[in-house]
Amino acid sequence: MPDPSEPQKLTRSQERFLEAPQLVQEIVRDCIKEERPLMHMKHRPEIHQKLTAIVKRHIS
C-alpha cells in the first residue's frame, strides 16, 4: 500500500492524460462517467445520445 504522505509517481497513462488538452480531458472524463454504471449491461439505452451530447456541450 503506498504511503499516503508521499506524493505518488504518475503512471504513464496518467501523464498522457494530463498532456492532453483540457477540453479533451473533460470530454473523456464525462464520457467515462456516463459509461461506468452501464458498461456491464447488455442493454445500454441512450448511451450514444449521451456521448454525442457531451461532445456538443463541450464544443458549442
Partner: protein, 693 residues
C-alpha cells in the same frame, strides 16, 4: 469487494434460514466450509451466483436450475403457497459502502417462470440507507459478469485458461479485472455510427462538396475496416475450433496403442517447432531493430579510416595539439612585453620575431574539436564492430532456428507417413482428418495475417483521409463548429486508445512477473510459466543449461496450477492497482474475493501445498469449499499449509440429513482433536450449515 455474510432461506436443500458469515479480517482472510461430495457445496456456490446474477449466473453443471425453492417446502400442503419463498441474501462491502443484496423467488413464480426473480439492493453510505433503483445494473458494475469464472469456480474449471486457444478468455479476464474494459467500451461507443457517424453527418450537411466527398470516402473505408475486423475475428474463432478438433484427434491417436509412441514423438517435435518459430520471430524482430538503429555504422569504415588518417597526420606534423596557442602570443603582443621581460615595441625586431610565431601557433577550439572528432571516430569504429558482431550472432541463430524448424517439421512429416501407412483403418481415418485440419489451420493462420495487413493498410489510408478532411476549407460557421466537434471526438478517441495501450503495456509485465514468480514457487524449478504478448499462458521447460527453454504440452495438473496461479496473481494485481490513484474515476482495479469449490482436483501433494501457501497471501479474501479428500487428502497437504499460514478466520461444515449416506462420505468429520457428526439419517433430505468455533 469483501463478502460479509450469506443467508439462505429455503434455497434448495437448505431448509429454513441458515447463515454463513465469512471471515473479513485481513490477516485471517480464509473461510473454510468442509463438506463431503453431495452434501451441498455446489449449492452454496450457486446460492452466491444466483443472488448476484439470478438464474443466468448458475453454473453450467448445476442440475435442475429451475428448482430453486426447497423441495419439501414446495410440496408441503400445510404451508400456503404465498409463504413458500426461496431467498438468498448476501451482505458485502465495496468501495467503502456496505451493501445488502436480496434475491427471492416464490412458489407460484417458480412454477410460471423461475428466471423472473425479485431483487433488492440496499446500501449504506455515511450512516444512511438507500435503495438502488436498478439493482442488477449496479451489481454488474461492482462485479462484472466477465470476471465470474475467475472468482467463483468449481473443480478443474479454471484449467482451461492454460489452453492455447483460450487467450480470448485470458484477455477478457485481464481487461475486466483491471478495469480496462471501461476504456474499450468508451472507445467503441465514441466510434459508433450513432456518435461519430452522427457528428460527421452534421458536418456533411454543412460542409462544401469537396469535404462531403472526403467524408463519404471515410465512411466507406471505416465500414470496410469494420468488415475486415469481423472477418478476422471469425477466422480466429474458426482457428480456435480447428485447434480444438486437432487436439481431439491427437488425444484419440495418443490413446491408440499402435501409434501412441509415434504420436507422442510427433507432438514433441511439433512443440519444439512451435517454440523455435516463436524464437525465430523474436530474433528476426531484434535483427530488424539492430539494422534500423545501428545499421548505418556498417558503412562508416572508409569514413572512419579517412578521419583517423587526417588526425594522425595533424599529430605527426605537431599541429595537434598546438605547441603554442595563438591567444598566448596575442596576449604578449597586446602587453608589449615578452615573458623574458624584453620590450615588444612596434617595429622592433623582438616584436617581429614574436609576430612570426602567430603563423605556427594553434587554436584551442581547433584542439578541442579535433579531440572530439577523434573520440567520435573511435566510438563509431567500436559501434561498427559491435553491430557487426550482433548481426552475425543473430543471423547465425536465425539460420540455426530455420534448420531446427526444418528438422522438426521433417520428423513430424515422417511420422505422418508412418502413421498413415498403418493397416488400422481407425488410425488412418484419424490421420486423414488430422491432415485436413492442419491444412485448414494453416490456411486460417494465413488468412488472419492477410486480413491484419489489410487492416493496417486501411488504417493508414484512414489517417490520411482524416487529415485531409480536417485541412479542407470550411466557409460556413456551422461547418467549422461541426469540424471542431469531430476533431474533439477524434482526439478523445485517440487519448483513450493511448491510455488503454499504455495501461496494458505497463500492467502486463507486472502481471507476468507475479505469474512467473508464483508459478516457480509451486512447480519444479525446471519449469517456467509466462503470459505471452497475445495472452496465452505458456509453460516451458529448461532441458539443458544455456539452451533455449522448450515449450511444454502441459499435463492437466500443470494447467490447473498455471491457471490458479494466474487467477491469484491477477486478483493480487487488481488489489494493488486499487491503491493507485486514478485520474479518471473508474479506471482502476478492485479487490475481489476468491470463492472456490474443490479447486485442487487431482493435484499431487507438492502442487496442493504450493497453491495452499500462495492463495491466502495473494487474494484479499479466500472462501474454500472442500471435501475431506480435498482438504485432508494427499498427506494433509492443504490442511497443513493453511494451518501453518494461521490465516483461517472461520470454519464451517455442512451437516447432511438424508435417508442414505452418499458413497465415500463418512458420518463424522475429524478436524484436529474435534469430531463432528456431519451425517444424520433422516427421511427428509436437507443440509444445515454448522460453525466450528
Amino acid at each position: 469487494m469483501k463478502l460479509i455474510c450469506l443467508t439462505l432461506r429455503n434455497f434448495r436443500q437448505f431448509k429454513g434460514e441458515q447463515e454463513l458469515r465469512f471471515s473479513d479480517y485481513e490477516d485471517r482472510n480464509v473461510t473454510i466450509v468442509h463438506a463431503e461430495n453431495g452434501f451441498g457445496k455446489s449449492a452454496l456456490l450457486n446460492a452466491l451466483l444466483w443472488c448476484f446474477y439470478g438464474s443466468e449466473g448458475l453454473s453450467d453443471d448445476f442440475s435442475n436450475k429451475e428448482s430453486i425453492l426447497n423441495q419439501s417446502l414446495a410440496v408441503d400442503s400445510s404451508t400456503p403457497d404465498s409463504d413458500k419463498v426461496a431467498e438468498v441474501e448476501v451482505s458485502f462491502e465495496h468501495d467503502g459502502e456496505r451493501f445488502r443484496l436480496i434475491r427471492s423467488l416464490d412458489y407460484l413464480q417458480e412454477k410460471a417462470d423461475s428466471r423472473k426473480t425479485k431483487v433488492t439492493l440496499e446500501f449504506t453510505k455515511d450512516g444512511q440507507t438507500f435503495y438502488e433503483r436498478l439493482p442488477d445494473q449496479r451489481i454488474r458494475s461492482i462485479l462484472p459478469k466477465g470476471i465470474v469464472p475467475l472468482i467463483f469456480f468449481e473443480g478443474e474449471g479454471p484449467s482451461r485458461f492454460a489452453l492455447e486457444d483460450k487467450s480470448g478468455e485470458v484477455e477478457t479476464a485481464i481487461r475486466q479485472t483491471l478495469g480496462l474494459s471501461l476504456l474499450q467500451q468508451t472507445i467503441d461507443d465514441l466510434k459508433h455510427q450513432n456518435v461519430r457517424g452522427r457528428l460527421r453527418g452534421e458536418l456533411k450537411e454543412k460542409a462544401n462538396a469537396e469535404t462531403a466527398e472526403l467524408l463519404e470516402r471515410l465512411e466507406k473505408l471505416e465500414a470496410q475496416v469494420e468488415r475486415r475486423k469481423e472477418s478476422k475475428a471469425q477466422a480466429e474463432r474458426n482457428l480456435n475450433a480447428t485447434n480444438e478438433d486437432l487436439r481431439s484427434v491427437d488425444d484419440a491417436l495418443e490413446k491408440n496403442r499402435e501409434v501412441q509412441e509415434l504420436q507422442k514423438e510427433r507432438a514433441r517435435n511439433e512443440d519444439l517447432a512451435a517454440t523455435a518459430v516463436a524464437e525465430l520471430e523474436q530474433v528476426e524482430s531484434e535483427l530488424s531493430k539492430v539494422i534500423a538503429e545501428d545499421g548505418f555504422s556498417l558503412f562508416t569504415e572508409e569514413l572512419v579510416a579517412r578521419g583517423k588518417a587526417i588526425v594522425t597526420r595533424l599529430r605527426n606534423e605537431n599541429r595537434i595539439p598546438a605547441q603554442v596557442l595563438n591567444t598566448f602570443i596575442e596576449d604578449l603582443l597586446n602587453s608589449d612585453r615578452c615573458i623574458c621581460t624584453r620590450c615588444l615595441e612596434p617595429g622592433s625586431p623582438e616584436r617581429a620575431a614574436v609576430e612570426r610565431l602567430l603563423t605556427t601557433a594553434g587554436d584551442q577550439n581547433v584542439n578541442n574539436a579535433v579531440g572530439a572528432i577523434d573520440n567520435a571516430l573511435g566510438r563509431l569504429a567500436q559501434l561498427r564492430e559491435e553491430t557487426s558482431r550482433r548481426l552475425e550472432e543473430k543471423n547465425k541463430r536465425r539460420l540455426q532456428l530455420r534448420d531446427d524448424i526444418r528438422v522438426y517439421k521433417n520428423r513430424a512429416a515422417e511420422i505422418h507417413q508412418k502413421i498413415g501407412s498403418k493397416d488400422n483403418e481407425e488410425v488412418r481415418a484419424l490421420e486423414d482428418k488430422r491432415s485436413v485440419l492442419q491444412d485448414r489451420r494453416d490456411s486460417l493462420i494465413g488468412e488472419i495475417a492477410r486480413i491484419a495487413q489489410q487492416i493496417t493498410d486501411d488504417e493508414t489510408d484512414l489517417s490520411a483521409l482524416k487529415q485531409s478532411i480536417a485541412a479542407a476549407e470550411k466557409s460556413e460557421e456551422a461547418a467549422k463548429l461541426a469540424q471542431r466537434r469531430i476533431d474533439a471526438l477524434e482526439q478523445s478517441v485517440s487519448l483513450l486508445e493511448d491510455l488503454l495501450r499504455l495501461e496494458i503495456e505497463d500492467l502486463i509485465p507486472m502481471l507476468n512477473k507475479q505469474f512467473k514468480e508464483h508459478f516457480s514457487h509451486v512447480i519444479d524449478r525446471d519449469y517456467e510459466a509466462h503470459l505471452t504478448d497475445d495472452f496465452k499462458l505458456r509453460i516451458t521447460q529448461q532441458l539443458q543449461d544455456g539452451a533455449p527453454p522448450v515449450l511444454v504440452n502441459p499435463s492437466t495438473g500443470q494447467r490447473q496450477v498455471a491457471s490458479l496461479v494466474f487467477i491469484a496473481s491477477l486478483v493480487s494485481l487488481a488489489r494493488e492497482r486499487k491503491d493507485i490513484q486514478s485520474i479518471v474515476k473508474g479506471l482502476s482495479g478492485a479487490d475481489y474475493p476468491m470463492v472456490m469449490d474443490s479447486p485442487f482436483g487431482q493435484l499431487g501433494a507438492n502442487f496442493r501445498r504450493g497453491i495452499a501457501q500462495l492463495l491466502p497471501f495473494l487474494a484479499p479474501q479466500v472462501i474454500l469449499f472442500a471435501s475431506t479428500e480435498q482438504y485432508f487428502g494427499v498427506s494433509d497437504a492443504v490442511a497443513d499449509e493453511l494451518t501453518k499460514s494461521k490465516r483461517i478466520g472461520k470454519r464451517y461444515y455442512l451437516a447432511y440429513h438424508a435417508p442414505t449416506l452418499p458413497k465415500e462420505a463418512t458420518e463424522f468429520l475429524k478436524i484436529g482433536d474435534g469430531e463432528f457428526q456431519q451425517y444424520f439419517r433422516s427421511d427428509e433430505m436437507c443440509t444445515k450449515i454448522c460453525e466450528i468455533k
